[in-house]
Structure formats: C-alpha cells, structure tokens
C-alpha cells in the first residue's frame, strides 16, 4: 500500500525584476501572494532591505523565502561583529550561495536576487537558482512570470535584436548603461504587462532603488483582479 506523502512545498507565486544601471540598482517585486487560485494577501513584500545598502529579492515558496532572508540578515549581523565593516554585494552573493547549496538535498524553493552597488558606483545584481548557482548580471526576472518578462528585458536592457536605424539589420545597437528613470519605466511596463496575462501577478509592486545615497522605496499600483 502506498501512502500519499506530505508535500512540503507550495508555490506562492510572485515575480521579481532587477535592473542594474549607472549609479543605481533596482530590485522590484509584486506583492500578491497566492495559493492555487486563492489570493492569500494583496500585500506581502518580496524584496527585503537587509542593511548595508543591500536588497534581497526572494520568490517561490514563501516560508522558505522568509527563512532564507532571515538567515541572510543574521549572517550580515555576524559579519559586522566579526569584521566591523559593511558587507559588499559580492560577499553577500557568495554567502547566499553557501546558504542555498547547504540545503542542496532539501532545497529552499526560492528564486533569489541580491542587489547592491559596486566599488565603481555601478549597479550590481546577482541572481541565483534554488540550489545556489549564481552569476552577476545587468538584469534578471525571477519567479512565476520570469518567462514573460525575460525576453522583454533581453530586448529593452540588453538590446537583443535591436539594430541601428537605417543599417538594414547590419549594425547592432551599442550596449549602454540605463539611467534610473529609463529603468523604472521598463520595470513598470514589465509588471503591468505580466499582470495582464499572469494570474499570480498583481495588486502592487514594491520597488527598492539602491543608489550611493541609500535605499529608496516606491510602490507602483497594479490591477487587483
């Protein structure tokens, strides 16, 4: 006789978008939390300030996400005690990898993004898979609507398939770093259009903007349907 086994995971939805640019990094996440077709709450922050001008985005299984964020905060506190200096985004990403891979055989079901500012003042974004593989990127969409948003970011941030007008598809548009307000427009468009088609995206977007001045929070309303 086989017994139905307890499933320790549930998908709570949610999507994060991160864009790094000249002098800033944006990390945004929608605030809807779902369970199947039910909306649990319309305001569950998915992007978290953890001090040291670092922001963590975590979506997927929310219980794991919150446990992970809490452990990151604890590790940052320990780092302060031991080293008496701010943690860099690079160090934070390296540490997050160990936390995720430490649960390789019972993973945190979480898509994680770490955002900060590098030494040259450029936005710094690291994205992770649930078991800790990571890389630095200029932009990343994570979570349930990542499939919808990634091609949009490829085109608008990394300028894939964009050519200089009049070059007849011969000359690629040169790469450039985005300005903050350009990146905000892209982030807003990404979420409003994902919200049109994905049932797990909606309610509002919580945006964390990291600059050398610190972290600014904005809220973009989305459709509540």
């Amino acid at each position: 006789m086989s017994q139905s086994q307890f499933d320790p995971y549930v998908q709570n939805g949610g999507t994060t978008v991160a864009i790094a640019g000249d002098g800033f990094a944006i990390l945004a996440g929608d605030t809807r939390s779902v369970n199947g077709y039910n909306i649990n709450t319309r305001f569950q922050p998915r992007v978290h300030e953890v001090g040291d001008d670092l922001v963590i985005g975590a979506s997927g299984f929310e219980a794991d996400a919150l446990a992970l964020v809490k452990r990151i905060q604890q590790r940052i506190d320990l780092y302060h005690d031991n080293h008496e200096r701010k943690m860099s985004a690079q160090s934070c990403a390296c540490m997050v990898r160990t936390l995720l891979y430490g649960k390789r055989f019972f993973p945190y079901y979480v898509y994680t993004t770490v955002a900060g500012i590098d030494k040259e003042g450029k936005g710094e974004i690291y994205s992770f898979d649930p078991v800790g593989s990571y890389e630095r990127e200029w932009c990343r969409a994570g979570g349930s609507a990542a499939n919808f948003i990634t091609p949009f970011l490829d085109n608008q941030v990394n300028l894939h398939n964009q050519y200089v007008p009049g070059s007849h598809g011969k000359e690629r548009k040169p790469r450039r770093l985005l300005k903050l307000e350009e990146a905000m427009k892209i982030t807003t468009d990404a979420f409003t259009s994902a919200g049109e088609r994905h049932i797990e995206v909606g309610d509002s977007v919580l945006v964390k903007i990291i600059t050398k001045e610190g972290v600014e929070t904005r809220i973009i309303p989305l459709k509540k349907d």
């Binding site: 307890f6 549930v10 039910n38 649990n40 569950q44 219980a63 919150l66 446990a67």
Partner: protein, 262 residues
C-alpha cells in the same frame, strides 16, 4: 555484468549493504515511526477580520471524522495572553498539542515578571516557527491557524495566518478551509481599500454572522453553533454558543428561488 544489469540498481539502496541480514534494522521489532500523513479528526473554517476598534474572529464548534460529524462541542478558539486569540482549522489533536505549547509559552513568559506581555505578533512568530520546523522534519502539525488580536503599545488591530508548511501572511480579512472560498469575498467586501478602518463593531458582527450562515448552508462540515471573539484595546469579549437563523422551507417560499412571490 552487462551495462543494462548495472542500470537496474542505479539509485536504489542495496539491501545487502545497508540492511544485511541479522542487522539491527532488519531484526527490529519496534513499530515504525508514525507521522501525520493526513488529518483525522478535523475542524473546518476559521474567519477573522479587522474593524475600526479591533478584530473579530469566529469558528464553529464541530470536529468531523471524515464525513461524520463526530464532536460538536469543540472550542477551536484559544485565548493566549491578554489580547490574543488563536483559531485553528485542520487536525484537532495537533491543535490540542499546539494549545499545550502555547500554555507552556504563556507560563514561561509570565514567570519572567518583567512587565512585557505576549503580543499577537510574537505569538504568530512563535507558531509559524514551530510549524515551519515541523514541516522541515516532514512531520507537520496539520493545521491552519489564524492569530488575531490588538498588537503592541498602540493596540493596532492584527490578523495573521500560519499553516502546516510554515506559510505566513497578514491581511485585513483572513479565512481558512471552506470559508476561504465562501466567506472571504464577503469579508473582503467589508474590509478592502481600508474600509475596515471605518467598520463598526456591529457591522463586523453582522458580516461574521452572514458568513457563518452561508457556511452552514453550503459547507457540509460546518455547524450552526460557533464562538465569536472580539478583541479591542479594552479586552476580549468571548461569546460561545452562538447561532444564526436559517430557512429550510420549499423553494417557492424562499426569496431568490424561482418566480418571485415572497
């Protein structure tokens, strides 16, 4: 040995290596470890909402054994500390174990005598950590809990949820079980867009009663006997043995069915 024979045992524990005959494991006569794989005696819905002066939480008194209405005087709301109520759906025995944990917590915190009182947000944090730790052991407490109360120095209305997987969230109105489908739309109508901030105690109670009526009509594992707790900065008003009116006449005598004559 051919390649195909080798693939047969890939990924499978080799019995002769891990459990050789005469080993402790094979010889053991102990019963296997028991884990909750499904709830047995269950409670159905719990609903809670914020209103202008505080929060209101309700649950009926039924504990079902599958489709059998087994116990009909079970209190599924528990008072913890001075300004918190915990309501539970799911497995009743697991809930009773959680009640013991809460009792232990309350005694321990009370013994410090340091003037700090247990707040609803602390109790929610504690419960969610207990539930998440048990899910990590794949041995969950099979419950959906709602923690309701007035929180902190300002006695802010507080309603939060925690379940067997450690999932947590907070909202102006929360419901578990069947009420998540049947009652939550009505609760949200009363509370959404900050309407709860102007919702009177009477209107909140009317909403709860209407929800309990719909649940009694449509949820087969419900009972027209329930408790309602109202938590305000003034204290807890715990009303037991509540009920709502219901109509079971033929459709022609019911408002909303067939040609309207009533």
């Amino acid at each position: 040995m051919s390649f195909l024979e080798l693939t047969e045992v890939w990924g499978k524990p080799q019995k002769d290596i891990f459990f050789p005959s005469g080993s402790e494991v094979e010889e053991s006569t102990d019963a296997p470890i028991q884990r909750t794989v499904q709830p047995i005696v269950t409670g159905s819905s719990v609903l809670a909402l914020k209103f202008a002066d505080g929060v209101m939480i309700a649950a009926d008194n039924l504990a079902s054994y599958g489709s059998l209405a087994r116990f009909y005087d079970v209190e599924r709301l528990t008072k913890v500390g001075d300004n918190t109520i915990v309501g539970a759906g799911g497995d009743i025995s697991d809930y009773q174990q959680i009640q013991r944990l809460l009792e232990k917590l309350e005694i321990k915190e009370g013994n410090y005598g340091d003037g700090y009182a247990l707040q609803p947000s602390y109790i929610h944090e504690y419960l969610s950590k207990v539930l998440y730790a048990r899910r990590n052991k794949l041995d969950p407490y099979w419950n959906q809990l709602i923690v309701a109360g007035v929180d902190g120095e300002n006695k802010e209305p507080y309603v939060a949820f925690a379940d067997l997987r450690g999932t947590t969230y907070s909202a102006p109105a929360i419901a578990t079980g069947f009420a998540m489908h049947l009652a939550l739309p009505m609760l949200r109508k009363a509370t959404d867009d900050d309407r709860w901030k102007t919702l009177s105690k009477e209107s909140a109670r009317a909403t709860i009663d209407e929800c309990m009526r719909v649940l009694f009509y449509r949820d087969a594992r419900s009972l027209n006997k329930f408790s309602v707790a109202t938590i305000t900065p003034e204290g807890i008003e715990f009303q037991t043995d509540q009920s709502v009116s219901s109509k079971w006449a033929f459709a022609e005598k019911q408002y909303g069915y067939g040609t309207q004559t009533v």
